[in-house]
Amino acid sequence: MSAIATSIPAIDMRDLTVGALSDSTNAVAENVTWRVEQGDFWVVAGLHGAGKSDLLMLAGGVMAPLAGSYEFLGEGMPIFSDERLAHRLKLGLVFDGGRLFNHLTVAENIALPLRYHHNLAATEVGSTLSTLLELTELTPHARAYPSSLGRNWQRRAALARALAMRPEVLLLDTPLTGLDSRQQNWWLAFLGQLSRGHAFYSGKPVTIVVTAASLREWRGHARQFALLDGRRFSVLGDWAKLEQSDEPLVRELMGQTNV
């Protein structure tokens, strides 16, 4: 029984056409066929404007594909009906820049999905909230409003908010962009722990998909890589295959170009 359950891919896209979030009629990627197994750690790389965020929004169920099929843990996406909401909540999405709710404090932002889906009062989310605040080192900023925080803390708050419902699959849009090396290391270490099995998940590995404008930082952390360029999505494989690749853009994203 468990063998059948684990054989269901976390993300299964077949001949998918991805529209832009700002203009859904404009295709940013075509013929995307991609299978993400449960427990995988993927990085989808591409230059700015390649459509990485749009692909992630589609994977996150925010919009529907223009063509093709997309199944998330065995069920068609996107899911908007209340009856299938529990399945939808197995997926967490961290937006580029966080997209926190500016009228709520950091603690209120993180607690919102917990309160809404479990119908809890503000005083009833204490233990999970404090755990998430500690995990992301946000306890000193719990009462701050997002606009008063730096980019790194806003992004951590968005991560904590996405983790609140303990999703099985976590999608993160360019989490390392604009961060200094210390912050980047924290993110890489934390995502690595989640991927291997964090205590917050009782040791169960989380499936992670990350978009990135550079591949270099993910060496030794992510296990699978893909490239999005010129409406074409291509699976690259693991780091060893990346190093054998002679595609100029891949080498450029790996920081190995001789300019």
Binding site: L21, S22, M57, G60, G61, V62, L85, R88, L89, L93, F95, G97, R99, L100, F101, N102, H103, L112, P113, R115, Y116, H117, N119, L120, A121, A122, E124, R161, A162, M165
Partner: protein, 293 residues
């Protein structure tokens, strides 16, 4: 040379016409009919959009009634405070001003024709049925409706709505339902306070003008002029005003993709359309009053 003739001819003709004469003498240029056509289509699309948005909101309100109550109830309370309690000081001032205004104008005319006994009737017709609800609606629109468009428009422009959807939270349930409920209740409550305050201050002004009318006579006149229809229609009217303001302002803030620089324009559009909506609704209630009279 001949090629320029038609232009010169028309210029000569136009100079001998009145300013608006060309409208009646020459065929209407395509651009004018396009302009009017666009206006009509935009109006119809707006009606369609607001109507669909209102139906979706009502559908969510009914289908999710009582759900997520520990999150939604504080939001509804906050909206009642915003559209009701927080506006009370301003409405106390307005109630006093409205009473003075109506009685001040009416007393001098009623005294001339010896019809002071109709003071209560005038107050009921003017304040309870018309000015009270309409003034309240317009002020709620100015103070809270505009804030609605700005808040929701900014949330839409900065991607907060997508963030809600990604968290599995229905944006209509979380953002719109509390606003509609809060503004409907708040507008109703404020109108009641405004009317009570205006009726009281009206008598005060009449007393200061030496009108030979005892308080008990004044309130007897008011009570005699009020029927159950007034109470029912007042409740319906104010709740409808609050709902229309909430729907129109929320529609312009949330229902369409917005960029930050478009929020101010959306606010202006929402205010104009909400005013038109309230006035049309008021006209419909006048017909109902006349039909039940």
């Amino acid at each position: 040379m001949n090629g320029a003739c038609p232009v010169n001819d028309s210029t000569t003709q136009r100079s001998s016409e009145t300013a608006t004469g060309f409208v009646f003498r020459s065929p209407l240029p395509t651009s004018y009919s396009n302009f009017i056509g666009r206006l009509i289509f935009r109006f119809l699309f707006t009606i369609q959009g607001i109507g669909a948005f209102a139906l979706i909101t009502v559908g969510v309100l009914i289908s999710k009634f009582g759900r997520n109550s520990k999150v939604l109830r504080p939001l509804v309370r906050r909206e009642i405070a915003r559209a009701g309690t927080n506006l009370l000081p301003m409405f106390c001032f307005l109630a006093a001003a409205l009473g003075f205004l109506v009685i001040g104008q009416v007393v001098s005319w009623l005294s001339r024709v010896g019809a002071v006994n109709y003071l209560g009737v005038v107050m009921v017709v003017v304040v309870v049925r018309e000015l009270g609800p309409l003034i309240t609606a317009l002020l709620v629109l100015a103070r809270v409706g505009t804030a609605n468009v700005v808040e929701l428009g900014t949330a839409r422009a900065t991607g907060e709505v997508e963030a809600l959807e990604a968290l599995g939270i229905d944006p209509v349930h979380y953002l719109i339902v509390p606003r509609v409920a809060g503004m409907a209740i708040g507008t109703f409550a404020l109108t009641v306070y405004l009317i009570i305050g205006a009726l009281m201050s009206g008598y005060l002004w009449a007393f200061l003008q030496d009108v030979p009318l005892r308080p008990d006579q004044y309130f007897q006149q008011l009570a005699a002029s009020l029927t159950w229809v007034d109470f029912v229609l007042l409740a319906l009217k104010t709740v409808s005003f609050g709902s229309v303001i909430a729907m129109v302002t929320c529609y312009h803030g949330l229902a369409q993709p917005l960029r930050l620089e478009e929020v101010s324009r959306a606010t202006v559009r929402a205010v104009a359309q909400a005013v038109i909506g309230c006035v049309l609704l008021d006209a419909a209630f006048i017909i109902i009053y006349l039909a039940t009279a």
